[in-house]
């Protein structure tokens, strides 16, 4: 006779198993229907299997992770700076991207944001386009022809009315932005429509040329640094993809769903969303990069890497200035990079190496303190016990 669900729940409730394992176990026994005796045997077997699968004390998980990521890494496209288009936006992939992630670079070589729209307008194409123009940085070359008028010593901007309408910006707003950004006089002539005249402070040829150059650097609308916005339909919803990443600024834009807006710049995620989000982003970016190359690396290895990178409350790189450079042992640091400097500094300071780690024990030729090497056997004197 099979037991009830309530009995099953009470039998499995106290087990020290992960949530997913418990859920699978519960579902399977409920579906099949087992007796109390069978259930006891099942629990016993599952617990034995679980304990067998757990990492044992003194197991070198770091080395296993390093090899498990490193070996597939050798099969990745090297240094070709392979690009692949995600909705016409180029993103760095392959080995260069993986190196970027573990080096914890402040800015990736191809920053990109994924901006979700608020749920109620997400299926509205016009709305998506409006938000896109709100985000994309608009410069004068998008809107007008700039002519340098040497006779009158000024710049004439002939604005394209269609573009003004499309980007939702008017002549007065442009004039104001230019006057503010360039700190010069800006005139809107009444006789010609859609024209702005910019007059340099001094009627000098050099100043005029400088002005003609600087005018292109003024952001008239949108967020500076967002070079392009691409709208793509994912399922029912429109999503915006941006070239360039400015997470802090995008949070103030109306009409976007902040909780689903993200970037591939881990440094920015750390600053805006905190360390836990950065940890998650490292895992996501690394596994996406590996998957794109057709490589399967168990996610636990990437989790270990990202946990180590974020354990001090800030994103540290795996390398000389991060994890490897913070090792307590002089020998371990010297074995990694810039050997002479480390040995010299240690010698001058009179550092002591406790020889606790793996690297330093290999260097001096001792058994390492891992696995069976970490266990000390003490023989009991049989005569004493008598």
């Amino acid at each position: 006779m099979s037991i009830s669900e309530a009995t099953i729940d009470s039998m499995i409730s106290g087990l020290p198993l992960p949530k997913t394992t418990l859920a699978t176990l519960r579902k399977d026994v409920v579906d099949v229907g087992v007796t109390k005796k069978e259930m006891e045997v099942i629990i016993e077997r599952v617990m034995a299997d679980y304990e067998y699968a757990c990492v044992e004390p003194c197991e070198a998980v770091g080395v296993v992770s390093a090899q498990s990521i490193g070996e597939p890494g050798t099969q990745m496209t090297m240094r070709t700076f392979h690009y692949a288009g995600v909705a016409e936006i180029n993103v760095t992939l392959g080995l260069p991207r993986l190196i970027e992630i573990v080096d914890a670079r402040k800015t990736p070589s191809t920053p990109m944001m994924t901006v979700a729209l608020v749920k109620e307008h997400a299926a509205d194409r016009e709305f998506a386009r409006k938000v896109a123009w709100e985000i994309e940085a608009t410069h004068i070359e998008h809107l007008a022809d700039v002519t340098t008028d040497l006779a009158n010593m000024n710049l004439i901007l002939d604005l394209n009315e269609k573009m003004l309408l499309q980007r939702g910006i008017d002549v007065d707003a442009i004039a104001e932005k230019l006057a503010e950004g360039l700190k010069v006089d800006v005139k809107i002539p009444s006789e010609v429509a859609n024209q702005i005249i910019v007059i340099p402070k001094e009627p000098l040829y050099r100043d005029l040329l400088q002005l003609a150059k600087n005018i292109h650097g003024i952001t008239l609308k949108g967020i500076e640094g967002i070079k392009r916005v691409v709208i793509r339909k994912d399922g029912e919803e429109y999503t915006l993809y941006t070239e360039g990443s400015m997470l802090k600024e995008i949070l103030d834009v109306e009409g976007i769903d902040l909780s689903r807006t993200s970037t591939n710049n881990i440094g920015e995620i750390y600053e805006v969303f905190g360390i836990e989000a950065a940890r998650f982003a490292i895992i996501k970016e690394a596994s996406d990069t590996l998957r794109e190359q057709g490589l399967t690396v168990d996610i636990r290895h990437l989790m270990l890497v990202s946990d180590i990178m974020t354990c001090d409350g800030e994103v540290k790189q795996i390398g000389r200035h991060g994890i490897s450079g913070e090792k307590a042992s002089v020998f371990a640091r010297a074995a990694f990079e810039v050997t002479v400097n480390h040995l010299l500094d240690a010698g001058m300071r009179g550092d002591i190496d406790e020889l606790n780690g793996v690297t330093e024990n290999i260097i001096v030729g001792q058994p390492i303190k891992l696995g069976t090497g970490d266990v000390h056997l003490v023989a009991r004197n049989p005569l004493k016990d008598l």
């Binding site: 992960p18 949530k19 997913t20 394992t21 859920a23 949070l251 109306e254 902040l258 909780s259 689903r260 993200s262 995620i269 600053e271 805006v272 969303f273 905190g274 360390i275 836990e276 989000a277 998650f280 982003a281 996610i299 636990r300 989790m303 946990d307 974020t310 354990c311 001090d312 409350g313 800030e314």
Partner: protein, 78 residues
């Protein structure tokens, strides 16, 4: 526009400041001192959001791909 809480973001797991009794059980279970736990900076956006202070321990309930749910503890530092 309603105020956006960082904890609603899909990348950010649930954080909460632990009370001392729970903390004692956890520290006893792992046999560690709170200083040995991973760190969380007090300037971290999440620490500011939940009002964690240096010396507190923050409990993080992560959604894990392997375990379903994973608990993590961070000691708040300056």
């Amino acid at each position: 526009m309603s105020k956006f809480s960082l904890l609603d973001h899909e990348l950010i797991p649930h954080h909460e400041v632990m009370d001392e009794d729970d903390l004692k059980t956890v520290l006893a279970h792992y046999n560690v001192e709170r200083e040995q736990l991973p760190k969380l900076k007090v300037t971290d956006p999440i620490a500011l959001e939940i009002g964690a202070e240096p010396g507190n321990v923050v409990k993080v309930i992560r959604k894990s791909q392997t375990a379903g749910e994973a608990l993590y503890y961070r000691y708040v530092i300056e």
